[in-house]
């Protein structure tokens, strides 16, 4: 479920865009530093958003040119903020590992093999990350188990299924101490998670119907042929709009020092643009190993 959190680049100024990239590169560097080189492959823009959100309440950090393995020569500027990136990198590893495990569960024997191999590769990183954030790792396992139960029962409630995933996402901020920062952040992340779940469900609807797999929208709106009628589509848009509004209302209460433009762009402009693209069938998730689309079930981790 990575790839749905994006800014509207055309409406982002150059300085903010560079900060966004520096945060992405900083996260990649932190992953490598904490969890070894291979963890660098787990970097993604969704977790960059998490970092931007979490660090928005802190003082600004310096930017430095860093070596980038994906680049032959030259350096890339990246934000240096070990304290800020630490928990975000751990969350990235935990969520990615859970996603791999879910793929192993869902796939048939032969297709399952590569994912099994990858879980072995990332097992140690996962163990270290769950030692860093034991509460978050436990929360993930608990909510995913709850989600599987709902799926097995073919739950028609989009709220209950989205809630399992949204709680995982909002758990990414539960280590913060100050309630004035934690509470708005949890609300932003909860509704981000809800938005991601619904967007992903809509994106996968056709495929899930064809494969007779679980999709909450199928049971909620009694869809049979894989397309949602216009009235239901409008209703779903209103639901995601409400989530965006609630995330925005919480964002306004966050005592932000930096990254305000970026966060507002992602929430107010990026989310609706992504949902519009999904709705019209024009959304293309970044083609990568981690964006593997599930075939049997449509569970919602990361």
């Amino acid at each position: 479920m990575f790839g749905y959190v994006r800014p509207r680049r055309d409406l982002l100024d150059q300085a903010a865009f560079e900060t966004y990239h520096a945060a992405y590169c900083g996260l990649c560097r932190a992953l490598g530093k904490q969890f070894g080189f291979r963890a660098r492959f787990l970097v993604n823009y969704d977790m960059t958003f998490l970092y931007l959100l979490r660090s928005s309440v802190a003082e600004p950090c310096g930017v430095r040119g860093c070596w980038c393995p994906a680049r032959v020569c030259g350096r890339k500027s990246c934000i240096l903020d070990d304290d800020g990136f630490g928990p975000v990198a751990a969350c990235t590893v935990i969520l990615s590992y859970e996603k791999l495990r879910d793929n192993v569960r869902d796939e048939r024997f032969l297709r399952r093999l590569p994912f099994r191999l990858l879980t072995l590769l990332f097992r140690r990183a996962y163990q270290r990350a769950s030692r860093m954030l034991p509460e978050f790792a436990a929360l993930c396992a608990r909510q995913l188990a709850a989600l599987q139960e709902l799926e097995a029962a073919s739950s028609p409630s989009i709220d209950a299924t989205a809630d399992c995933f949204a709680r995982i996402v909002s758990g990414c901020a539960n280590d913060l101490r100050d309630p004035n920062q934690r509470r708005p952040m949890e609300q932003i992340l909860y509704h981000t998670g809800r938005f991601l779940y619904l967007a992903d469900a809509l994106d996968d609807l056709k495929e899930d119907c064809a494969k007779n797999a679980y999709n909450p929208l199928r049971y909620r709106f009694s869809v049979t042929d894989g397309t949602l009628p216009q009235a239901e589509l409008d209703y779903l848009s209103q639901l995601t709009d409400s989530s965006v509004n609630l995330a925005g209302a919480a964002l306004e209460l966050l005592p932000m020092h930096v990254h305000e433009d970026l966060l507002k762009n992602i929430i107010y402009l990026g989310f609706p643009a992504v949902f519009f693209a999904v709705k019209t069938g024009k959304f293309q998730a970044r083609a990568s190993l981690w964006n593997h689309r599930r075939h049997k079930t449509n569970t919602g981790e990361a």
Binding site: D159, R183, Q187, H191, Q238, L239, L253, K264, Y268
Partner: protein, 203 residues
């Protein structure tokens, strides 16, 4: 206390009008109506208090140095307007306890109490919807509010809640973050075309 100018986001040399505009924009953004039923309503009302105090502090400071005419700060701040006004009816209202649980954000307690209620009237559906809304379960909230409105079509509180959950009302969103439509540009083009024709016709 924080620097009042910082709270309002204006410079120390800002004119009276600039301060008033900044103040009004902030009041619009953090107005209790925007945070009705929102679990963060208490933070919003704190923010509102801070803004009011900052505005009053600036007005006082300027009045002492010159004859500064303050428009007076917004007095409706706080969360009273949406804090379920009739809790005081006490034991006569079986839902009073549920409402006070909701106000204290104890949603599980409120929900289990509601589930044991003998009747399911409009108020029951409204409270059920409010609990769902506070949890972020927007689909369920909408269904319950719609049932409540259908059962008691005259209740203003239910209609308001339904309107909030239906969205489309986002006053805190700054204008530059409003989704841009092509319509405005088209309207402008059309207006210019019409103007051109009219001017041409006058020749």
């Amino acid at each position: 206390m924080k620097d009042p100018y910082e709270v309002l986001g204006v410079s120390r040399t800002a004119s009276e009008n600039e301060i008033k505009t900044a103040y009004r924009d902030l009041v619009k953004k953090y107005h209790p109506d925007n945070y009705a039923n929102n679990p963060l309503a208490d933070l919003a009302s704190e923010k509102m208090k801070e803004i009011n105090e900052a505005y009053d502090a600036i007005a006082r400071a300027r009045a002492s140095s010159s004859a500064y005419q303050s428009g007076g700060s917004y007095q409706g701040g706080g969360s009273h307007s949406y804090n379920y006004g009739y809790q005081s009816s006490g034991a006569s209202n079986p839902y009073a306890q549920v409402r006070s649980y909701i106000n204290a954000n104890q949603l599980d307690a409120a929900d289990s109490m509601l589930n044991t209620a003998p009747t399911r009237d409009g108020e029951w559906y409204f409270l059920k919807g409010t609990i769902a809304y506070r949890r972020g379960w927007l689909d369920e909230a909408r269904q319950h509010y719609q049932t409540a409105c259908a059962m008691v079509p005259t209740n203003y509180e239910y209609q308001n809640a339904l309107r909030t959950v239906q969205g489309g009302y986002t006053p805190y969103r700054q204008t530059n973050y409003q989704r841009s439509d092509m319509d405005e540009a088209c309207n402008l083009c059309n207006a210019l075309l019409c103007l051109n024709c009219l001017c041409g016709g006058c020749r």
